[in-house]
């Protein structure tokens, strides 16, 4: 049969954002796939060089649209390492609270969004509803629903409001009681089994070849390669949690791990609220006087955190001036989103392409920056 060129995207149900794959198909088998990013390129790395260290706070959460808080955390960690700032104890715990709540929100959404490529939109609606309730909590804490700009160099913007901890705990209880319904709907569904089981494989050697991290790495190598465990930041060394792993990685395994991680994150949130100091500062002033005129000492540092999709890092260069000299972003899904698509999407069927994108956790805003 004659080879036909087809376009997946820039709008399609497997992705959060605009990303296109040019596919050359024979019948319904993909022969060649060419990733085509650039639809979302907003030039953040250049823009950050032209803004003050504190002014960048408004920019960075937008680099990864579904999961903004990790950007704030990784930026704050890097700048604090350069400037030698010690963060107050309570701020570490509040940061962990925010990060884990964000992790739950994104994982719930990611779990439900498997409905996009498989055509089961009920799961998507349920997930969006659950995530929205979490966003209500964020709104109370930070004043914003999606882009919080809450974790800043030196701590967090404000202390948690009175009665907030109870609301979070209540929400966590409710969420924990709802997750089994998700499992019933998604993980035990015959359609999901037919589509996801033994499909979209990710062998361990591909993980090492591409540099895949996160759930992809843990599900195929069986190693507990989670930065929260391997290289703890904030106070992750003082809470107990398991890192779910597997030895065989197909789309269903990765979905299962996602669910297990939601339970672990709920556990972390509870521990954080129990162990968080009652009193104390949440933010230290980074500079005497105007924080916008703050100059960060010269240096180069790489900071990384564990995002939902894996290692998420910033390489921050300062030349001792009021603005960063250069910031490079390592998007967690960069390896699988570009080289993975080119090398390993071929051989799958057309209808599995968006499932491939979804279950590999490709997130286009962090590839495009």
């Amino acid at each position: 049969m004659r080879e036909v060129k087809l376009f997946l995207g820039p709008q399609h149900p497997g992705m959060h954002g605009n990303y296109s794959v040019h596919m050359y198909v024979d019948g319904d088998i993909i022969n060649t796939a060419r990733p085509t990013p650039g639809f979302l390129h907003r030039g953040f790395e250049k823009l950050m060089e032209r803004r003050h260290w504190m002014g960048n706070l408004a920019l960075i959460p937008r680099i990864c649209v579904p999961e903004p808080d990790i950007n704030e955390m990784v930026y704050a960690m890097g700048v604090e390492a350069l400037a030698g700032i010690e963060v107050p104890e309570k701020a570490h715990w509040i940061r962990m609270l925010v990060l884990e709540m964000a992790r739950i929100a994104v994982h719930v959404m990611g779990l439900g969004f498997i409905g996009g490529p498989t055509g089961m939109y009920t799961a998507t609606y349920w997930a969006i509803a659950q995530r929205d309730l979490l966003l209500d909590l964020f709104e109370e804490l930070t004043g914003a629903r999606i882009y919080h700009m809450y974790i800043v160099p030196g701590g967090v913007r404000k202390d948690i409001p009175e009665g907030f901890a109870e609301k979070v705990l209540e929400k966590m209880d409710e969420l924990e009681s709802r997750i089994p319904e998700f499992e019933e709907l998604i993980l035990k569904h015959p359609v999901i089994h037919a589509r996801a089981k033994d499909n979209i494989l990710l062998p361990a050697e591909v993980v090492w070849e591409l540099g895949v991290t996160g759930i992809g790495m843990r599900s195929s190598t069986g190693k507990k390669n989670d930065l929260r465990k391997v290289k703890p930041y904030a106070r992750y060394d003082q809470v107990e949690f398991e890192v779910p792993t597997a030895e065989y990685s197909d789309a269903l395994t990765r979905l299962n791990i996602k669910v297990k991680e939601i339970y672990q994150s709920i556990g972390i949130v509870r521990q954080v609220l129990a162990k968080m100091p009652e009193e104390g500062e949440v933010r230290v002033p980074v500079a005497p006087g105007n924080a916008l005129r703050w100059t960060v000492p010269a240096g180069m540092v790489y900071s990384a955190v564990e995002s939902n999709r894996g290692e998420y890092g910033y390489f921050i260069v300062s030349d001792g001036k009021e603005m960063p000299y250069r910031i490079a972003v390592r998007g967690a899904s960069y390896p699988q989103g570009l080289m993975g698509v080119e090398k390993y999407l071929k051989g799958y069927r057309i209808d599995d392409a968006s499932l491939w994108m979804d279950s590999m956790g490709v997130c286009s805003p962090e590839i495009d920056r």
Binding site: R50, Y302, F315, P335
Partner: protein, 176 residues
């Protein structure tokens, strides 16, 4: 954990003889080498546990006339990051690919080529446009690229036939 860091620093110092070795953050080593040493250093680090290339990027030191290539590697067993840095001449931005050591570098090299104009020999893809289709100016992340001027030249302000003079709190004349 500090022991493994110190041991690694000593090993790197003996094996690679770097120009400089720094500890910029907790569990992170910055190792600055000559550009000719980069491939040997990467091969050595990969064999000693740094199995993952986290990112390859570049810094434009325009005042020194140099590009600094930055390879960030991760050792998942120890939880240590290494920055391997080397400076190349800005007027002759050519370097050899590292895709035979870290295959995942292919797209990072392509991106650095696109945004800094550094050519990676041996990476046959690196000249193809990736993010910036039909780009017609100098590579945009170089320091001498001015996004404001580029934007003004690409999207000039339109002439309007009607000029709005009025402003809040203005005089009667201005409002007419």
């Amino acid at each position: 954990m500090m022991n493994s860091m110190n041991k690694l620093i000593d090993e790197i110092r003996v094996t690679l003889k770097p120009l400089e070795i720094l500890v910029p953050a907790d569990r992170q080593i910055a190792c600055i080498v000559e550009p000719g040493e980069v491939h040997r250093a990467l091969a050595y680090l990969k064999s000693s546990g740094f199995a993952q290339l986290s990112i390859l990027t570049c810094v434009d030191w325009i005042e020194d006339g140099e590009f600094e290539l930055v390879y960030i590697l991760m050792n998942w067993n120890e939880g240590i990051h290494v920055q391997l840095r080397a400076r190349i001449d800005r007027n002759e931005p050519v370097f050899n690919t590292i895709t035979h050591i870290y295959p995942g570098a292919r797209y990072y090299e392509r991106e650095v080529h696109e945004f800094f104009g550094i050519e990676f020999k041996g990476n046959e893809d690196s000249y193809k446009p990736l993010f910036l289709e039909r780009w017609d100016a100098i590579p945009p992340l170089r320091k001498d690229f001015d996004p404001q001027a580029y934007s003004d030249s690409k999207f000039p302000m339109r002439d309007r036939d009607r000029v709005f003079k009025s402003r809040i709190g203005g005089t009667e004349d201005e409002r007419s």
